[in-house]
Amino acid sequence: MDSSGMDGRWADGPLVELREIGRRHGERAVLGGVSLTLAPGRILAVVGPDGAGKTTLMQILAGILPPSEGEGRVLGRDLRREPEAVAARVGYMSQGFTLYDRLSVAENLEFAAGIRNVPAALREARARRLLAMAGLEHVTGRRAGALSGGMRKKLSLIGNLIHEPPLLLLDEPGLGVDPLSRRELWRMLAEFRARDTAIIVATSYMDEAERADAVLLLHEGQPVALDSPAALAASCAGRVYEWPTAAGTAASEPLPLRSRKQLADRVRAVLPEGGHAALPAGAVAVAPDLEDVFVDRTPPLPAPAAPWPAAAAAHPGGEAIVVSELSLRFGEFVAVDRASLRIAAGEVVAFLGPNGAGKTTLIRSLCGLHKPSAGTAVVAGADVAAGRRRVQGRIGYMSQHFSLYPDLTAGENLTFFASAFGLDRAAARAAIAWACAVTGLEPDGQWVRSLSGATRQRLALACSLLHRPEVLFLDEPTSGVDPASRYRFWTVIRQLAAAGMAIVVTTHYLAEAEFCHRICLMHNGRLFAQGALAELRARYGLAPDASVEDVFIAGIAREDSAAAAGEAAA
């Protein structure tokens, strides 16, 4: 098994050739009828809602899951007859992390090279080049477990590049990775692509899919579309409109729309094919993007129909969160540095920042899970420094890591959390019915561990809503969730806010910040800028239509140079 000498076997033909590939688990078809070819130097994005079969397809392509139907050749080897030969040659980065936390960066890379037949002579030079490319050359001695999410993804990636595979398979490479790291990840992929490496990437970020040469949209195991991003966008041309919220008639208006996206200041909608309804005044046609295509091509989700019972929150119009000069130190490390912030009831605020900026720590301390080292924080009228007990019951917290009981059913999880918040039986039943309606959930007897990611996320949200908290903290609630489900999620958030709940959200989908009233930017523990999107655009001298990402990058750059200047002065 030696990697040299077999180059050229596929040099002329496509790297990947699938004909009607499918996979069954017992009776259920997880994937079916996928046909595609991929030439060197091309990128294919695989998108689709939860349970569409993306991971199954990636595993089949990697040669670690035999297809039960169809024929396929990858790198010139047959997927049925020589799956080991395929697995030995591709680079496959599975979802989640594939690192050993207790090993250092260099040791992880050494292991990756060791099991992939990289000759010792080449190993050193390649490792050095890849580390430099990933910007990890200064942390080679650090343990993988101590790296940020973005660094871990980059390390996983270069581990799969060390044997210079002609085909790279990436399953959700952007999951849980901050925008800056995601940009670097894609910069690296571009370099490899330039050297004729073919890449197949499964993703729930549509901006990643936009960079691909072709996009494969899967739905419930079946291919729905396979075309270039431009061609797909063209299929929605003339059907995507935006209009300002002020002009918009209320949410109750029965427009026959494929999708409706309620942003902070405007509404974006996709009309069904052929149907041109009467649009509200001020509606303008905009260029469609892949998100629009996605919601257009997938069946609509049941809407979260749930009028919020009036006067749920205790202090409507009052201040929900008042933070002043709050600091958190762990030994020498300053996780949060003198943050000050006021959030009103009914306001939705996004915390944005790179991994390790202190967002999660700040939220946890506002929940009373960390004791502040200095400063004060009053949440829902209670001082968090005085102890967790005071704020319990007035806040809801949905942590970054999925935290429900996998061995209970959805209904049992809800019942448990209802009782944990002290609701009596009647109140619990009403609260569960309400929270399910709000989140569009139908609790059945299914184990939580067998639910899809998006359903779990909605269930976690429902669990944190049961006691009708005054303040809701959501830490990366939408990571790995497809666009259509995210729209619905945000609709719920808007409804809750409209009823007077203050909501704090962190997200790595920067575009989601457009759903929020206000944005807080964090970096290195400092909360350095806050305001509405328009205010921040103005502050950094950006165009009025600049994206959240532009604002984010400008802000971080400004903060970095200020910090450098401060250091120089000191």
Partner: protein, 364 residues
């Protein structure tokens, strides 16, 4: 089989293990704790049996008899009863193991050359202790007044361990138990953890073959096992003065074979279990419990009922312990105990064939 790839797995596994101090600590401290506990605590040879005395005779003879008990180091006189009725409660409380009742007129009867009955009340609840206590007590009572020479006398000679020190049989047996306690569990957990955390996917999508993966996983834990074994042998020899009658090379060679079985069992468990808890429980029921209880380590296999003997002999530990005791205490080796070695070799082959077959199946 590509040795460079195996080497990569070994290096990675060793580093991971070394960086989990709690586990490493447990690996070496627990055998140590076991060695010292077993070394000091496992002996049925009772001393200081708690004795109560009810002397109704109150004569020089009765006092002399009671003195005989305390003079032997077996008994410790903790209570004297003035009357009989307190005895029941005292035995119920478990304060005493044995009560000596010397009735009125004992001295008088002895003087007349009659038989004088003396009562021994034994708490039978701790059966093993009670049996020995009763035996010692009867011997003292019988030997008190007269010592008629027995006409037939067995000259008892105890071989291999003349002083009947329990450490001598515990230490070689402990090799078998410790090697069954840690390596299977650690090997199984190391693989199941990769399944749980998803790192196994990277292994699947690489040129690494199942055999290479197994070998790389196995050798570091076999190394740990060998380290534990060396430690126990060394301490047994240096601290507990266990005589080492046989050839250490033979012992270590067969121990190597046995270590392969134990880590092989770990591989089997990892193929069966999906979660760490399940792996732990399976390893416990098929490796640790049988090797601890049904291997002849403490309790002899030959006195078990036939069915239980068959059960005990289905696990490899009893064969290894027999071999280890043979080498350490009896100074014999393969030439005598070849059957045990053949059996262990067969077991090794079976375990590995099964594990290799199970590991062949990938994600599907």
């Amino acid at each position: 089989m590509n040795l460079a790839r195996v080497g990569a797995v070994i290096t990675k596994e060793t580093r991971e293990l070394l960086r989990d101090p709690i586990t490493v600590w447990l690996c070496f401290l627990m055998p140590l704790v076991m060695l010292f506990l077993f070394g000091y605590a496992v002996t049925l040879d009772v001393e200081n049996i708690r004795l109560g005395v009810l002397d109704q005779d109150r004569t020089p003879a009765s006092r002399a008899l009671a003195m005989r008990f305390t003079a032997s180091h077996y008994f410790e006189r903790v209570r004297d009863f003035p009357q009989a009725h307190a005895i029941t409660e005292s035995l119920q409380r478990g304060e005493l193991t044995l009560v000596l009742v010397i009735p009125h007129g004992t001295q008088r009867r002895l003087a007349r050359g009659e038989t004088a009955p003396v009562q021994l009340l034994v708490d039978g609840s701790y059966a093993a202790t009670s049996l020995l206590a009763a035996g010692y007590a009867e011997a003292i009572v019988r030997g008190f007044a007269s010592a008629p020479a027995a006409a037939v006398e067995p000259a008892v000679r105890i071989w291999y361990n003349p002083s009947l020190r329990s450490v001598n049989y515990i230490v070689p047996g402990l090799f078998g138990v410790i090697l069954m306690a840690f390596p299977p569990m650690l090997t199984a957990l190391a693989i199941v953890r990769e399944k749980e955390s998803g790192t196994i996917q990277q292994i699947y999508a690489s040129p690494l073959t199942p055999r290479e993966f197994m070998l790389g996983k196995l050798l570091p834990y076999a190394g740990v096992a060998f380290g534990e074994m060396l430690m126990v042998v060394g301490l047994g020899y240096a601290w507990f003065r266990v005589p080492f009658a046989g050839n250490p090379v033979e012992l270590f060679a067969v121990a190597g074979l046995y270590v392969l079985i134990t880590v092989g069992i770990g591989l089997l468990v990892s193929a069966l279990a999906k979660t760490q808890v399940a792996a732990m429980l399976i390893a416990l029921t098929i490796a640790l419990m049988p090797s601890f209880l049904f291997s002849g380590f403490l309790f002899p296999v030959f006195s078990m009922p036939l069915m239980m003997q068959m059960y005990a002999r289905a696990f490899p530990t009893s064969y290894f312990i027999d071999f280890a005791r043979g080498v350490v205490l009896k100074g014999v080796g393969v030439e005598v105990l070849w059957f045990n070695v053949v059996w262990l070799a067969a077991y090794t082959a079976a375990v590995f064939l099964l594990a290799a077959w199970l590991l062949k199946k990938r994600v599907a």
